[in-house]
Amino acid sequence: MLAAVWSELTRLRQPRLLVTWFGLTTLFAVMINTIMITFVSGGGSMPPGAPGVAFPTLAELESPSGLLSGLAAASSMFGMVTLSIWAVVTAGDYGSGLIRLLVAAEPRRWRLLAGKVVALVILTAAATTVAALVNVLAVMPAAGAAGISTAAWGTDLVAVVAGAWVNLFLALCVWGVLGLVIATLARSAAVAIAIGVGYVLVVESIVKMLKDVPSDWLLGTILNAVAGGGTATIAYGTALALAIGCVTLGLVVAGAVFVRRDVTD
């Protein structure tokens, strides 16, 4: 399987793909941190059902974990970027016809799929690192300008950074697998992105606005909980278990389809 991973990593070294991925990650990290600091320092609070973004309170922002609270706040945005990139990479093999060469070269298709997942997980780790670095670089001057106390931000720095990084990384991997699964089923990046992003921005938002509907168990909400280390309504362990369940189910479905389906593209 290492050969498949190495091969996929070689194909992922596309300048445009990497610039898009890391560029959008940087953009969202800067944007969300700037908005978050402005919003929280101005005494604002999030309306219920706001799509995709959950800002901390002022007290949370000034706590040791406040340094990286932008990561959790922007996790849905990062998630949509990750979903889109994984979908583009997966569906691109079908669109270009490369899938014919790959399957002819490595007929054990599960190896190809596993190689792609592992390679994309490695790049997702890199994107998570970019997000964390940009978050730190963006939040410090923004907090200083807004008069937010940053005195506690150095406390337990390694644990805070590692925890925030791992949580965001796990959430992004689930987003990515979701993109891979939909792209494998649809063999189209556009369809996969439309379904993924549309679900988060439209379906979940509508459901959240409806009273008497348990919105805590929606995928986007669960992944926000994973990225944020848990929420008031969903414990971190529960959210993580649900996310792992989703990933497992998604990979089983994608694997079964990919291994059995005719390559006619």
Binding site: A3, A4, W6, S7, E8, T10, R11, R13, Q14, P15, R16, L17, G92, S96, G97, L98, I99, R100, L101, L102, V103, A104, A105, E106, P107, R108, D262, V263, T264
Partner: protein, 315 residues
Amino acid sequence: MPVVTTTELTRRFGPITALDRLTVELPAAGVIGLVGPNGSGKSTLIRILLGLIRPTAGSATVLGSAISSPARYASRVGVLVESPAFIPGLSARANLVSLARLRRLPLARVDAVLAQVGLMGRDREPVKRFSLGMKQRLGIAAALLSDPELLILDEPTNGLDPAGIVEIRELLRELGREGRTVIVSSHQLSEIEAVCDHLVVIRFGELIFSGPMAEMMKRTREHIDIAAEHAADMDRLEAALLAGGWAVTAVDDVLRVAAAADRAADLNRAATAAGITLNRLIVAQDNLEEIFLEMTGRVDGELANGRAAANGKVA
């Protein structure tokens, strides 16, 4: 041992039968031409042999291994299926390196195949800047990467200029002489005639012919192409010849008469007797294209699709 065997190989796509109980053996070594009208089932056969799609019924072997286990022979087979497929944003070299890594091959093979297809020097350019012909060369390079015993090339000269076609023709001949088996699917029948040692003709998913090219060319016959001095006389000339018992077909601006060279004088006399002066009388031999068209019923690929679909077959 045959390099490929198929037994009653059948593939249906819903109501359409793309391959219909195809039984054929392809000999090892040499260049084998796989021809048939558009949609005759050539691509379906190639995809089944490569493990890309599964047959509905029947069985097949490639290099002695059943197609149900393509992993057993994949490393010994090089392929160019339909159009060459690469990542446009990556260089030619990076595309080949990714395939070499997937096949666990030494990266020195990348240099070797790039040199073999004449792309050394352009190998660091993104594939998106390549012409169709260069992409085709890169596709052949990818097929040669594993130094395979069996090469399956679908339309390898597609998009190449005349010089490129000659170059690839020489490459195919050389590969065949090296002891490899090269299966070439092509619509360029002149290319097939020029390079192939063995020929397989498929139509509507059924085998029409499989055998040495020499055996196929034995079917060639001489014919005589004639034309009247005045175009207005062509209909009268055709009628006179038909009345005289000649087998005549109108082809473009000439009448093609099925007759050997020694009947040329008789033909000229027949025209003169009808009061018509000939300004063209050319004795020629049927080529593979003529035989192919006769065997496949001179069907147009697109029209045949409709007709065959009505019969429940891909045309």
